[in-house]
């Protein structure tokens, strides 16, 4: 799993997510199969359960929004315990929870098994526009430095007893944000000059394209194809 070429993993993840989104939401069995497929991949890639659980927390706000749907959506009402909830709202909430969770899971498996340079190489091999991949590569290269700037300025503010609790006390935080932009932009200018002085001629050196054999594609896409079959079956064979 970890050794597959990145473009195979990107395409496989995208196909899997599209298959999940296209699955009929009333076909609960299909989502169980999707989850099982994802679990097989996560197990094969030896990703720790705790890593997946921690990174899936990002989804919590949307789960909260989904929980509201049965109360606010229109259509027929069904009795659930003491409550009368909207039927389409219940299905909608279920669809968001199931599809959203599987989507998050797939992205977590992708990012846990693929390094950032590999992802960028995969995107470039897939003919993603060069300007987007090169902006992304500069961003991921410098984001820790810029985030470090944020931390240092925060520590500097706090050690000078800044503890804003109301929005009219935000002056120092605003100053931090302004300084952060100036520092980042000036760093960009310095990086460009450093590139020029090292012979940059206006085109970024291309990363060596990563080669994928038919066998790589077959391995990588097996799970996605299974998910696509499940999605199709949810509309036809086993409704």
């Amino acid at each position: 799993m970890r050794s597959l070429p990145p473009q195979v993993k990107l395409v496989a993840t995208l196909l899997f997510v599209i298959a999940v989104v296209a699955t009929r939401r009333e076909a609960m069995w299909a989502f169980a199969v999707h989850a099982a497929l994802l679990a097989v991949v996560a197990f094969a890639a030896r990703i720790r359960l705790r890593t997946i659980a921690r990174r899936m927390l990002i989804e919590v706000p949307f789960l909260a929004a989904a929980a509201l749907l049965p109360f606010v959506a229109g259509g027929d009402r069904v009795a659930v315990g003491p409550l009368r909830l909207s039927e389409s709202g219940l299905w909608g909430a279920w669809a968001i929870v199931a599809k959203g969770t599987l989507g998050v899971g797939a992205a977590v498996v992708l990012s846990a098994t693929t390094s950032v340079p590999e992802l960028l190489r995969g995107l470039q091999t897939m003919r993603c526009p060069a300007i987007l991949t090169s902006i992304a590569s500069f961003m991921v290269r410098y984001v820790d430095i810029v985030a470090g700037d944020v931390q240092r300025m925060r520590v500097a503010r706090i050690s000078r007893a800044d503890d804003p609790r109301w929005f009219w006390q935000a002056k120092a935080v605003v100053g931090t944000a302004g300084a952060l932009f100036v520092r980042s932009y000036e760093r960009g200018e310095r990086v460009h000059l450093a590139m020029l002085s090292r012979g940059f001629d206006g085109t970024m050196p291309r990363l060596a394209p990563s080669a994928a054999t038919g066998r790589h594609w077959a391995t990588g896409l097996a799970i996605s194809l299974a998910a696509i079959v499940v999605a199709l079956a949810s509309w036809s064979v086993w409704r």
């Binding site: 992304a136 961003m139 206006g202």
Partner: protein, 225 residues
């Protein structure tokens, strides 16, 4: 908040991807015209700035805090085209590395977070600039108003798309009212922070602010005219 997988139906997600791809293609051409070979390093660092900016928590009331969305801010600071590219890259990195926003909803997220706020923010910014004198305070005011308008407009675009291809049938009026109702308040916060941050940058490096390049330096009173 970024839209996760399964929130919109397939056709709407695909439509969002096509519109976003077209807008980004135009943005890439225009931004390259403006910055040339400097585009990649500068836009990369601005993308890192936007990403890190969202780590900064601005106080709201009684210790509660919120962070900036930044579409209109980026448009005023580096121009709408570069801003669209930067925010689109940030949204992509968040989707792939942090699972924030669904991969199948990437086109929709780029449209709602990168393209609409930057475009609307920039148009409003230019209109307000034209109504006010060409001075630094006017730039700050115009960026605040632009940021305020951009947030509920993005919320309205979300509501329209939800009416077209939302996974749950909610009444369009209810979604629109709820989205705009909450986002007007978010917009007020966005406006205050955006204006203040633009002001902070103008205080040190006014020459870096794209939206203020046409302000005569003599109007700042620093140069002997």
């Amino acid at each position: 908040m970024h839209v996760p997988d399964g929130f919109f139906d397939g056709a709407t997600s695909a439509g969002g991807a096509v519109v976003s791809a077209g807008a980004l293609a135009v943005a890439a051409r225009r931004a390259t015209d403006e910055l040339g070979e400097r585009l990649a390093p500068l836009a990369g660092l601005v993308a890192a700035f936007i990403f890190a900016l969202q780590m900064l928590n601005f106080p709201v009331v009684g210790g509660a805090s919120g962070h900036l969305l930044g579409g209109a801010l980026a448009a005023v600071l580096v121009g709408p085209w570069t801003a669209m590219l930067c925010v689109a890259v940030v949204v992509g990195v968040q989707a792939v590395l942090f699972a924030d926003g669904g991969l199948s909803a990437y086109g929709i997220n780029v449209l709602l977070i990168a393209i609409v706020p930057a475009a609307v923010g920039w148009v409003i910014f230019r209109i307000v600039r034209r109504l006010l004198p060409s001075t630094d305070p006017a730039v700050v005011t115009a960026s605040g108003i632009a940021a305020f308008v951009s947030v509920p407009v993005a919320a309205a675009v979300f509501s329209v798309m939800y009416a077209i291809g939302g996974a749950v049938n909610l009444s369009f009026g209810a979604v629109l009212a709820a989205m705009i109702g909450t986002h007007v308040f978010i917009g007020i916060g966005e406006a205050l922070i955006t204006g203040a941050v633009v002001g902070a940058v103008m205080a040190t490096r006014p020459d870096l602010v794209y939206g203020a390049r046409d302000v005569e330096p003599t109007s700042r009173g620093l140069v002997n005219a």
